[in-house]
């Protein structure tokens, strides 16, 4: 049972990535690979600052800001230099690897018993449950902020940018600036995931972000399946489904490990699982035609 609680907690930690990918991929239609770098960036800043005895509430704004800069860079390279979004993301991600390593000074920073966001409050005695409630409150807060943002005039303009660029330009929106802002928000969310994960697992690692983008993609794709299934048009419900997707994703991984699949095959299982969710609707559609 503890196994699944861990999966749940990890899923909550990854909800930042899931929301970030939802914004870049679903709202802006931009495949953003910066994620791998900005997640580790968030982890690296968290590790270094906590190690230097900075309180966790000071670390959070730094992490958000750093992630936003990384995303904005990808956005600027993509819009101003007219470079393919995928390549722009890969460039920033690659550069971030060095920056993260330089920042950390070594490949792994254990936090040992430094105070973290999870030791900030002691709501219940069971440490895992305590972590759960803190994570849940944190994620709920992020979701509320993003949900509100998407409902505002600015948010509607954001959603229209990925939908019909000609229309939104004709309606007075600088689409370049909008995309840069959007990618900044997405990567700030991703970095926040790195912030949470580092404190949850108790260390920052230079390789913690490798292939992490698939967690976000998987979550969004699971959410999309439900969104299409139930014809969801509400923004709030869509966001909740994205969080739900992040948790389901971790449950599936936990399940595969629990039935004794070799841990080294985990990434392969992950890839196959995502492939399955993406292709299942298509396969069934084909049959019904």
């Amino acid at each position: 049972m503890d196994f699944y609680l861990t999966a749940l907690l990890q899923g909550l930690c990854f909800s930042g990535i899931a929301l970030g990918i939802y914004i870049s991929m679903k709202i802006f239609n931009i495949p953003d690979i910066t994620t791998d770098g900005s997640y580790t960036l968030g982890g690296a800043f968290t590790g270094v600052l906590l190690l230097h005895n900075q309180p966790t509430y000071i670390v959070l704004p730094v992490v958000i800001f750093a992630g936003a800069i990384a995303g904005a860079l990808t956005g600027i390279i993509h819009t101003k230099l007219k470079i393919n979004a995928l390549l722009a993301g890969i460039l920033v991600m690659t550069a971030l690897y060095s920056i993260n390593l330089k920042l950390m000074g070594r490949s792994n920073i254990p936090l040992n018993s430094k105070p973290t966001i999870f030791s900030l409050l002691n709501l219940v005695n069971n440490p895992n449950q305590n972590t759960f409630w803190i994570l849940l409150a944190f994620v709920a807060l992020i979701t509320l902020i993003i949900g509100y943002l998407l409902k505002t005039d600015f948010g509607i303009a954001m959603r229209a940018t990925g939908n019909s660029e000609s229309m939104i330009r004709a309606l007075g929106v600088n689409t370049d600036r909008m995309k840069i802002t959007g990618l900044a928000i997405a990567n700030a969310l991703t970095a926040t995931s790195g912030y949470l994960m580092t404190q949850y697992q108790g260390f920052a690692d230079i390789s913690m972000g490798i292939g992490i983008v698939i967690y976000g993609l998987g979550s969004v794709i699971i959410a999309e399946a439900f969104i299409n299934w139930f014809r969801v048009t509400s923004i709030w419900l869509s966001l909740v489904l994205v969080l739900f997707g992040a948790i389901i994703f971790q449950f599936v991984l936990a399940f595969t490990l629990s039935i004794g699949v070799d841990a080294t095959l985990l990434k392969l299982v992950t890839a196959v699982f995502v492939l399955l969710i993406v292709s299942l609707p298509r396969l069934t559609y084909n049959r019904s035609l």
């Binding site: 509100y148 943002l149 409902k151 505002t152 005039d153 600015f154 509607i156 303009a157 959603r159 229209a160 939908n163 019909s164 000609s166 229309m167 939104i168 330009r169 004709a170 309606l171 007075g172 929106v173 600088n174 689409t175 048009t233």
Partner: protein
């Protein structure tokens, strides 16, 4: 209202695929004029419209709107004067957004898109009333995604969206090209009514000579990137549909 002086536009200059889309156009459009532009494919009509809208920046010459030099101003800034209806209904509206959200964006075309929620009950009511004037029964579907509507409905709504905020110039780029004859008729009549009611300065590009004959106060024929014929209101009234067909003879 719109002043175009000696404008040239050359795409891919110096390359094998160089296109001289517009070759020296001088055009003055007065406030309230409804200009119909006709011409064969590749005559530079759409480039002309894009030069006014700001989607295309001229290679040389100047463009001014309402006395302001806008030659190098990007399209999203020119939206303070200009509303557009595109040839493709998908370009003028956002499919995944609800009708209501589309209208919200149109209602703040000339304003900044801020961090407050603008869609409230009063706004919903206003949109419903506006849409009801179309008589298409869409006023009860404002929560539906735009993508669920037909091309004709979307074009009619795009037209309506253009007057949600202050509008001085309306650009219509073959708005009925993708529509069936009945929808096309509704859209053209709606456009004509809005132009008259709100005294809009308008440019309509069309391949439909009947529309060119029926609508507008001035007609321009383009060819090879220049203006071939320019007929003002007094003379346009005397034209027959036959004359227009002969222009393409």
């Amino acid at each position: 209202m719109i002043d175009i002086k000696n404008v040239h536009k050359i795409f891919n200059k110096g390359k094998a695929n160089q296109v001289d889309a517009v070759n020296g156009i001088d055009l003055h459009i007065n406030t309230g004029e409804f200009v119909v532009v006709i011409g064969s494919n590749g005559s530079g009509k759409t480039t002309l419209l894009n030069l006014v809208a700001g989607s295309v920046i001229p290679s040389s010459g100047t463009v001014s709107i309402d006395g302001n030099d806008v030659t190098n101003m990007p399209d999203y800034k020119r939206s303070q004067w200009i509303a557009r209806v595109f040839q493709n209904p998908l370009s003028g509206t956002a499919s995944d957004l609800s009708i209501l959200d589309n209208f919200r964006l149109a209602a703040i075309r000339t304003k900044s898109k801020g961090l407050s929620i603008g869609v409230d009950e009063a706004f919903k009511k206003q949109v419903k009333e506006k849409i009801a004037t179309l008589g298409m029964g869409l006023e009860n579907k404002i929560a539906q995604p735009m993508g669920t509507l037909s091309g004709g409905q979307r074009q009619a709504l795009t037209l309506l969206m253009s007057i949600m905020d202050t509008c001085q110039v309306l650009l219509l780029d073959e708005p009925t090209a993708a529509l069936d004859p009945r929808s096309a008729d509704v859209v053209m009549k709606t456009a004509d009514k809005l132009v008259k009611d709100f005294k809009l300065t308008s440019i309509l590009i069309t391949h439909n000579l009947k529309d060119a004959y029926n609508y507008g106060t001035r007609i321009i024929q383009m060819g090879e990137g220049v203006i071939l014929k320019d007929v003002d209101a007094a003379h346009k009234a005397k034209l027959t549909q036959h004359d227009l067909f002969d222009w393409f003879g």
